[in-house]
Symmetry: C2
Subunit: 385 residues, 2 copies
């Protein structure tokens, strides 16, 4: 059995952003040696890891050579070179989640096909190799307006996703491989965080409810537990576990879902790593998602996923029209409120809708937490100096 | 108003041990720039701070020059050069807790006199300038056997403290300034963590109950909340707040107390910094003691001190007779249990009774937590390879 604690064991993390930064709180807590690779010299992970390396996450040689130095590789961002990971696996290196899992998820077209093949409920869609094919498909009535357009590669946080309502919207789209998806008339967006270890132990967090900002298309509130019926929550959890098992996923998997008007659950997409929808867990859960990810990839026993208290997460995004050195205006006002904890990701510069941090609001009473969350959202402003 | 978050503000921390390491989780969370001074090149704080400086904490020049570089100075260990701190204050630098507070606490004789002067209940004692005076005092019956001997300087975790039962015990004592204190026949040892900010805001954590290891004289369990009557808890909290105010303390103050057989409360000693008796707060409290310390010294609003769930802390100390590269034997066994989180401080070498980490056990039911804590204690062993 490997000794991870205060030992020579080396964990490699691809990506050095805020997710990695929060993961490092827990590698520090366990005193696990970490190596981080990121292209940004000011990456939030730069301090707190044992070894920081500058480099391109999509470059085969860079990722391969980085991987050779460590005992186990994980990632905090999906846009990494999968071929290098596959080669490392061939040479006996542990990669969690695996290159195969990542490959199935990285391309949104492949991800959607995977759901179909594995009988996982998801909205109907058609994959198009480029814009001409897409336009042709619309013209031939293969997909009706309005629909959801998604770039198959590289989209996140509302980038690479559009609702296409008219020919004019269609014209504005970039010429890339894409999927066109039926617009789901949903009641609610839900997410379930699943942790799974190599030995197959699986634990699921309570269902969370998500509210999106109408313009920025970024999550505005994540509410745990979701205010839905128990039987719907049970159904969501079952589907999420099925997704995790189908992908043979190891680590944290965030499964985002739609709850339709008919109480059907459709899988929207997944993130094979700690996720925004699990940030509430730092304050609210028995085991936070970052510690759980570490436990899972190291094949350690998974921690309890129950909540200690209700939790709500509010994203701190840069106010529109502000660019430059960041100031968290009125942060002292929100810190006066019970159960309010700001998390500042460490980006010195703000810009419109940039994810700069988040605030967690915890309370025994979720309705009370919701009220405080709304106050928090109205008071704090992420502006430039 | 100062902007602390992702700004140029510099926080200096004297001492780079495990307390500093845990404090850095929260400076990272707030993205506050940190400078750490410690004599150990392998100090647990070395990574996760922005700037690490090797140096002697008792050296005037070192501490003074370090202090000049930062905007505000705090410490995670009391054995630092107070004169340098006083000079920095004179030159307008903020030092929290203040040099005056630290001076009153550093010397245990002074600390005890301070309690007398401020009408804070404490066990009767006599201060002796050296061993000859002590021996004379015992011979003249000024202090009766058995009594508690404490070196006035540099003692912690059972070092510099002895119970003197006989002339033979007396002979073994070192020749240093000391106090001889009446042995208190106590029911229970309690502690209260008080947070106080420069503007005088004060918040108190629930009373915790401590159980000591009989040989190592180190805390074995810290139980929150203490299983005592409400009126005794209220009395303990009042006394702790009085102590914090009397010291004009800023930051976290841990007030350790005895509960006597007659339900009297006597202050034993204080620690002017985050403390072992507050470690449970990382998992169990609305605001953990490290975040609270940061909030307090920066004069930010203090966070809620209520517990989310019951919490018990078990120290991980090196097993007797084991010296060398550390192994946390059976750590996977304890990680299977609900609400169990190990904290590994990052010391590569173990030795008998060395503080290597701690384990927190949380549960809605404190009696259930106590059962799990005992299992944890019996299962995990800190041994050498």
């Amino acid at each position: 059995m490997t000794n991870f604690f205060s030992s020579n064991f080396k964990l490699g993390i691809l990506g050095g952003g805020q997710l990695g930064k929060m993961m490092l709180y827990d590698t520090r807590k366990y005193d696990i040696q970490t190596y981080v690779l990121d292209p940004n010299p000011n990456a939030p992970c730069k301090i707190a890891c044992d070894h920081f390396q500058l480099g391109n996450l999509m470059d085969y040689e860079t990722v391969y050579n980085f991987g050779k130095k460590v005992d186990l590789i994980t990632f905090e961002i999906e846009t990494v070179n999968v071929k290098a990971l596959a080669q490392l696996e061939k040479e006996g290196k542990k990669v969690y989640p695996s290159s195969k899992t990542l490959e199935n998820i990285q391309n949104k077209g492949k991800q959607k096909l995977f759901y179909k093949e594995n009988k996982i409920p998801t909205a109907n869609f058609i994959r198009f190799s480029n814009k001409a094919h897409l336009t042709e498909g619309i013209t031939n009535n293969r997909m009706k307006l309005p629909f959801v357009w998604k770039s198959t590669q590289g989209g996140y946080d509302g980038k690479g996703v559009s609702i296409v309502k008219s020919g004019a919207d269609l014209v504005k789209l970039p010429d890339v491989e894409c999927i066109a998806e039926e617009l789901v008339n949903f009641k609610n967006e839900l997410a379930v965080i699943v942790a799974r270890s190599p030995k197959g132990e699986i634990k699921t967090y309570p269902v969370v409810e998500m509210e999106f900002h109408p313009e920025a298309n970024q999550v505005e509130y994540v509410i745990c537990p979701a205010r839905i019926e128990d039987k719907i929550a049970e159904k969501a959890v079952k589907i999420a576990e099925k997704v995790s098992k189908a992908f043979k996923h190891v680590g944290i998997l965030a499964v985002e879902m739609f709850l339709t008007q008919n109480d059907e659950i459709l899988v929207n997409e997944v993130a094979p790593r700690p996720h925004n929808s699990g940030h509430y867990s730092i304050e609210a859960s028995y085991t936070n998602q970052f510690e759980q990810h570490i436990r899972a990839i190291l094949d350690l026993p998974l921690g309890a996923t129950e909540s200690k208290v209700g939790g709500i997460m509010v994203n701190l995004v840069g106010a529109e029209g502000h660019t430059g050195d960041v100031v968290y205006k009125n942060i002292e006002e929100i810190m006066k409120m019970k159960g309010v904890t700001p998390h500042i990701y460490g980006k010195k510069q703000t810009r419109s809708f940039r994810k700069m941090g988040h605030v967690t609001i915890i309370n025994e009473n979720i309705d009370e937490a919701r009220k405080i969350a709304e106050k928090v959202k109205n008071i704090i402003k992420v502006v430039s100096k």
